[in-house]
Amino acid sequence: MFIGIDTSYQSSNISYKGANQYVDLNGDISYEPAETTSKLSVFNISAKAGIKKAVSNRADILGYGLLSYRFAKRDMKGEGGYGEYYHWGYLGLGLGFDFCLSYKLQTGVRLEGMYAPIKSKYFRSVYVELSKLDPDLKNINLSFGSTDGFRVKLPTIYKISNTISFEFEPFYEYWHADKTDWKDTTIEGLIASVPSNFTRNYGFLQVLDTISSKT
């Protein structure tokens, strides 16, 4: 059996040029240009627990569960800018396979499916600071519909010494969040929503593992 906690934080400045869309009762669309620079920060914490079983003297299979929370903040500056705070609490199931290529080198694969089951203010929603866009608008909290995703990870671990390993892990992550509900913005006749969206995230991790204790 194994247990663990993984935390990650990523941050970036992003420039954007686009428009806000306005639609009236007749279906006529108008646009208001928006050009912003955003500060995006994503924080993720996962608690995991699972089992690992040897299927040969060089190979293991493993299965595990995830209890996770993802928080993202988008602070858009400039004309048309406003703030958004995303909250996702989610569960996950993972399957994995590890194979020892040599005493020092191990490779493997992880497949994880994720699902955010609770539709609530702090577990599957976005808080939008519309007052930054227009002082007459109020800040609103919008709940997403069905929210799910998956990850594929290919960890390769090189054992530098008995206490230190280097890990290289290409990954692919996919999230889908269904459209939110509609909320009143307090200005009469104005309601707001966030449409369904997809996030694809891929890259690689470079990790130094340090065995800190033995029991």
Partner: protein, 65 residues
Amino acid sequence: MKKISLIIFIILFGISANAKNTNSSYISFGLMTNHMHFEEHVTPYVTDAREINGGYLNVFYITHK
């Protein structure tokens, strides 16, 4: 449907503390280099958003009742 691309070069600082099996525990530090793509579906209307310098989306839209 409008596709809005997001290209971010993000450096992640990751830390994890794992008890990977019953007789050892680990502390891990790492960096992540990644590329993120965000796509939003707005139907039947389409936003006029477009990407610049790998810009992020402006997903929010307002409609009159």
